[in-house]
């Protein structure tokens, strides 16, 4: 037995090296949602600087045979040891995952952003709406692990001190009333389209529109393992089912002024890992949407990714919708607004992200 352990020990280590080197490299990890390192190129310079050795370590770890198994097992062992904060996600009741924000948000950043929002809103001629997006933990604090601390998003909203001219479409009460439904994914930080629909109703109320009702929905065939699952990929977590509401409109969508599509949904995303990108094709700097709503109205949406699930509903009420993501959009916002004089403006942000967003200054350009 001792002999067997001796030989087995060396053999397992050596074999994992051979498998790492001779099996074809994987370039992308779907589970971790990141690119994996490839074989480092050997050069005298890289060796002398030590870069080659460092790259080698990353390569060996990233291409280790069965890496996914090891990563998931380690996360699960840590969970079994009592850890409820794994890889930047809280593991809550019934395996629901929550994004971990520091409870102490940067107060200076928040007040800066509040000022930017007010300044922006006051300089507009069109109608300005603000639609706050709450995180799952604000609606389901009881599902957080014990003693978990998250920002108080109701307090963030109050701290924004938006001017009177801004119409706030706050769906908080409606969310509370529908708490029993799946308003958020359990493995992704976004809301579901059911959650987005409640926000849409709040927007309609603020804008004086009659919301579309009784929309048909389809469900994705594959379970959806979202961004929080990438952080805490525990064995035994059930994936989500992504529901998609059909929008009975003809649309013409242009992504980043380049690529055209005739749907608000990119259905091929349902076969991939990040199914949330089905909505408006995921993150884009700018999306231009033309619809056959025939209302003569135009909307400019300034948003983070939560709005992707919301905007499709708005196609019922606007002929033209321009969606900007200031994390990626670096041209002057004022130019876009000048293209569409008198357009309605919708600012919709997740409150915890908004409190720490470093891109908001681009609003004023």
């Amino acid at each position: 037995m001792k002999k067997a352990i001796c030989i087995g020990f060396v053999a397992v280590l050596f074999l994992s090296l051979l498998l790492t080197v001779f099996l074809p490299d994987q370039s992308f990890s779907e589970m971790e949602n990141r690119y994996l390192a490839g074989k480092p190129e050997l050069s005298l310079q890289a060796v002398l600087s030590g870069d080659w050795m460092e790259d080698m370590e990353t390569y060996l770890a990233d291409q280790f045979p069965g890496r996914t198994f090891f990563v998931r097992t380690k996360a699960t062992l840590n969970f079994l040891l009592g850890q409820r904060e794994i890889g930047g996600a809280y593991v809550g009741a019934d395996g629901q995952l929550f994004e971990v924000f520091s409870k102490d948000l940067d107060a200076e950043r928040l007040s800066q952003n509040a000022q930017i929002l007010s300044q922006f809103a006051e300089s507009q001629t069109g109608r300005v709406y603000f639609l706050p997006v709450y995180s799952a933990f604000t609606l389901y604090p009881e599902r957080l692990p014990a003693f978990a601390q998250e920002p108080d998003e109701r307090a963030i909203l109050a701290a924004l001190g938006l001017p009177e001219s801004v119409a706030v479409a706050d769906a908080y009460a409606d969310f509370l009333a529908h708490k029993g439904e799946d308003l958020y994914f359990r493995t992704d930080h976004h809301w579901t389209q059911d959650g987005a629909y409640l926000a849409y109703r709040a927007f309609c109320e603020a804008a004086g529109f009659a919301p579309a009702e009784d929309l048909a929905a389809v469900e994705s065939a594959q379970p959806f393992f979202g961004s929080l699952f990438s952080k805490a990929p525990l064995w035994g977590l059930a994936g989500d089912r992504l529901r998609l509401y059909e929008i009975p409109r003809k649309v013409q969508v242009t992504y980043d002024l380049e690529r055209a599509a005739d749907s608000l949904y990119t259905l091929s995303a349902l076969e991939k890992k990040d199914q949330y990108t089905v909505f408006l094709d995921g993150n884009h700097a700018r999306v231009d949407i033309e619809t056959d709503a025939g209302t003569g109205r135009t909307l400019v949406v300034l948003q983070d990714s939560f709005a992707h699930a919301l905007v499709p509903f708005l196609a019922n009420h606007y002929d033209t919708i321009v969606v900007l993501d200031l994390r990626y959009y670096n041209l002057p916002v004022s130019d876009v607004l000048a293209e569409h004089p008198g357009a309605d403006i919708l600012l919709t942000y997740n409150l915890s992200w908004l409190a720490q967003d470093a891109n908001l200054f681009k609003l004023l350009r």
Binding site: C6, F9, F14, A61, R67, F70, L77, R84
Partner: protein, 467 residues
């Protein structure tokens, strides 16, 4: 190269083992020597020259001492020369920055501070080579004539960068001729895996707690958070350091060496002197053999004995890092040990065991605060938070930390005692077959666990870069 990395575990170690056992016995020292050079160059491609220089210096000094065997004056000069060269290397590469910046601060000068990166392991290998020269001088051992064998001793990769500090006399016989066996190799694997698991599961597991606590300003820490933080650090440094020693001893065993033990459950000590007989034993031994006893040790009058202890402990402190907090840390332990020796040691040994244990734990934990935080002001503020000067007694952060890390802390506490090894020993005595079946199962399970933890070891700090 860090032992708990995949480059080491899947690339370097298996290749070295395969080659080592493939070559004829007479080439094995050479193979170990070359492998160790690659190992060192992996992390420090440039400073390898320094290590070779240090080896050449002590190799030649040893030979010369033997050549001038009948000339005490020459031998003495050679000893002084060897110690001076070794200490100058250490002084320049480790302490120049500290000395210059202190001078600048004290005399408001602006001498440019030399920015030399500390060569990894220099504190370990200079102490090893010095032990060789001193022991040859004292005629404790003959000089090593074979340069390969000597190089193999100095650079031997298992203990090169984090100890144990192996004196030449400890391994002389094995350097000159050793026997590797399957039994020894198996025991080596077992020991190696114990160390790897300590590092990957326990040390890295609690290390994140300390990182999180120490990243906060002391004023915002509750007392419970501060205690949990320093407890986490105490476990992190113990399991990291003793884990490294276990891995080194285990690998030595695989290649047929018996390295000296470095830790013996220090956290069960009932006095601070007891703690230092159990913590980093090879360093304390080194200072005793080559500094304390030459100064006269304790066979002198009390004031001189106190002076000797003070010198040894300040040197021990500074050995740990070129920063004033380490000197303070050493002086602190020196003062406690002097007090224990001359004031209350006897009373302590008569007190109930838990009193001694609690006293030792308190002294050691307070010491770790100064050890871990190299800014003295932060250290003082942190101590303040531990004793209620921060943000209250308990807060949600501390409770969350307790929830997330409670189990790992308990595991650490259990692994700090000889409970498990004692139980295994009793089983061996009563039911030897069950004992061997259980150890085999533990070895295999431990190996699997280590693989699981090492593949996703994004958090894998190396604590000895300053030593």
């Amino acid at each position: 190269m860090v032992f708990s990395s995949l480059s080491f575990l899947t690339l370097f170690l298996p290749l070295t083992i395969l080659l080592y056992f493939a070559v004829p016995r007479r080439f094995r020292n050479l193979l170990l020597f070359l492998a160790s050079l690659i190992f060192y160059a992996w992390g420090e491609p440039v400073y390898i020259v320094l290590m070779l220089f240090s080896s050449v210096v002590d190799y030649s000094h040893g030979l010369l001492m033997e050549k001038f065997d009948g000339r005490p004056g020459v031998r003495r000069a050679l000893l002084v020369s060897s110690v001076a060269i070794n200490l100058s290397l250490l002084g320049f590469f480790k302490y120049a920055g500290l000395v210059v910046s202190t001078l600048n601060a004290a005399l408001s000068l602006s001498i440019p501070v030399p920015s030399v990166a500390l060569p990894v392991g220099i504190s370990f290998y200079t102490f090893q080579t010095m032990s060789y020269s001193i022991d040859v001088y004292r005629r404790n051992c003959p000089a090593q004539r074979d340069p390969i064998a000597f190089g193999c001793y100095v650079t031997m990769f298992p203990q090169l960068i984090a100890g144990p500090i192996v004196r030449y006399v400890d391994v002389m016989r094995e350097i000159n001729g050793r026997r590797e066996t399957f039994e020894g190799f198996y025991l080596g694997i077992r020991r190696f895996l114990v160390g790897l698991a300590k590092k990957l599961i326990l040390a890295n597991g609690v290390g994140m707690l300390w990182d999180s606590v120490s990243a906060q300003p002391a004023a915002s820490l509750s007392a419970l958070s501060a205690w949990l933080g320093v407890l986490a650090y105490a476990f992190q440094i113990y399991f990291d350091f003793s884990g490294y020693s276990d891995m080194a001893i285990g690998m030595g065993r695989m290649f047929g060496f018996q390295f000296p033990e470095n830790f013996r459950y220090p956290y069960v000590s009932r006095s601070v002197s007891d703690f230092w007989r159990r913590w980093h034993i090879t360093l304390s031994t080194w200072f005793r053999e080559y500094l304390y006893i030459p100064l006269g040790g304790n066979r002198v009058r009390v004031p001189r004995n106190i002076f000797n202890l003070a010198v040894v402990w300040m040197a021990t402190g500074l050995w740990h890092g070129a920063s004033w907090n380490f000197l303070l840390w050493g002086a602190y332990f020196g003062a406690v040990l002097i007090a224990e020796k001359f004031l209350y040691g006897k009373a302590l040994s008569r007190a109930p065991g838990f009193v001694g244990w609690a006293y030792t734990a308190l002294v050691v934990l307070v010491g770790w605060v100064f050890f871990a935080l190299d800014d003295l002001g932060r250290g003082a503020a942190y101590l303040g938070a531990m004793f209620g000067g921060g943000a209250g007694a308990v807060d949600a952060y501390a409770l969350r930390a307790l929830l997330n890390y409670g189990a790992v802390l308990l595991l650490c506490a259990a692994a700090s005692t000889p409970l498990a090894s004692g139980a295994l020993e009793r089983l061996r005595a009563r039911r030897p077959r069950a004992h061997s079946a259980l150890t085999y199962a533990l070895v295999i399970a431990g190996f699997a666990l280590c693989l699981i933890y090492v593949v996703d070891a994004g958090y894998n700090p190396f604590l000895y870069f300053r030593f």
